[in-house]
Amino acid sequence: MNGVKPGFRCRSTQATSYQKRLSKCHSTLTINIWHVSAYARPAGLLLVSATRSGLLYRIMHEQELVNRLIAGDEAAFRQVVSDYQGLMLYVARGIIDRDIAEEVVQDAWLAVLRALPKFEGRSSLKTWILQIVSNTAKSRRRHEIRSVAVGDAADIETLFKADGHWSEPRGHWHHDTPERLLESEQLQQALEGALQGLPDGQRAVLLLRDIEGLEIDDICKILDVSASNCRVLLHRARLRVWQTIDRFEKGEPE
């Protein structure tokens, strides 16, 4: 199955102040495109606009959702699995080996199920679930001390001259707003390829920060990394995505 299937889904997130600041610069546009591609992967990427919602709304909404889950409401289960399964898998992969990540997610779901009556809404449901994934993954890990390999940075050597200046002038992008970037189907594919191609640790941090809008502190706790490690991972991941778009803008092959 290879193609683009239109869908209409909105996500309600609590936008971080950082995302709000970014969104001030750009008008919001709803893009509802469901990407399904041929190669095997845990999840695809759905491009949607982030609807802003207040804290109170989030708490009421999530408590109601949790109550429905406790009552065994199938639609509620479908919603949470649909929202979190892919994310949980990527987070698990950011913590432990790929081959047991799926098992960890299975165990984490059961732990979530059992812990639901204890959910108090002090953190968002998403953060709460991801923390359970994290605890489950950590309990399966053999070594306690860990530092995530930060992966290689974008090709610094070719980007800069020996004197530290850009080796080529940096022009404007043709698609110079997020809306215009996401309008291009080919670019969406390139973007998805870039995200799938990131090292596991980088991908987990980028997803949690830039796509899901979690705070750095929460990300550090979930992925069990130091703040400085987390920032390096995030910046490297962003640079890789930036470079993918840049190559696309220049018409260079991947």
Binding site: R9, Q19, L22, C25, H26, I31, H35, R41, P42, A43, G44, L45, L46, L47, V48, S49, A50, G72, E74, F77, R78, V81, S82, D83, Y84, Q85, G86, L87, Y90, W109, L113, L159, F160, D163, G164, H165, W166, P169, R170, G171, W173, D176, T177, P178, L181, L182, L191, L195, D210, I211, E212, R231, L234, H235, R238, L239, V241, W242, I245, D246
Partner: protein, 82 residues
């Protein structure tokens, strides 16, 4: 003085306002004189803003499998309680 290479290395810290006061001044000073780096920062900010519009979608097959397992586990728990 910051070089273009330093701007590239510290761009996220700049955008998220995590640079020290003095580094921030040096950073802005470089942006003031360097159009390439101004373009780069704009591109990176655009990249991050575009990422904020991407959402994880769960593979439909995985969704169905996981859902079935969870509902089964839930029912088993309920029966156990009764």
């Amino acid at each position: 003085m910051f070089k273009c290479r330093d701007i590239h290395a510290h761009a996220s810290d700049y955008l998220e306002r995590r640079l020290s006061r003095w580094d921030r001044i040096k950073f802005r000073l470089h942006l003031f004189i360097c159009v390439d780096c101004r373009n780069f920062i704009r591109q990176l900010a655009t990249t991050i803003a575009a990422l904020a519009r991407v959402k994880q979608a769960t593979d439909p097959k995985q969704l169905d499998d996981q859902l079935a397992r969870l509902l089964k586990a839930h029912r088993a728990d309920q029966n156990h309680k009764q």
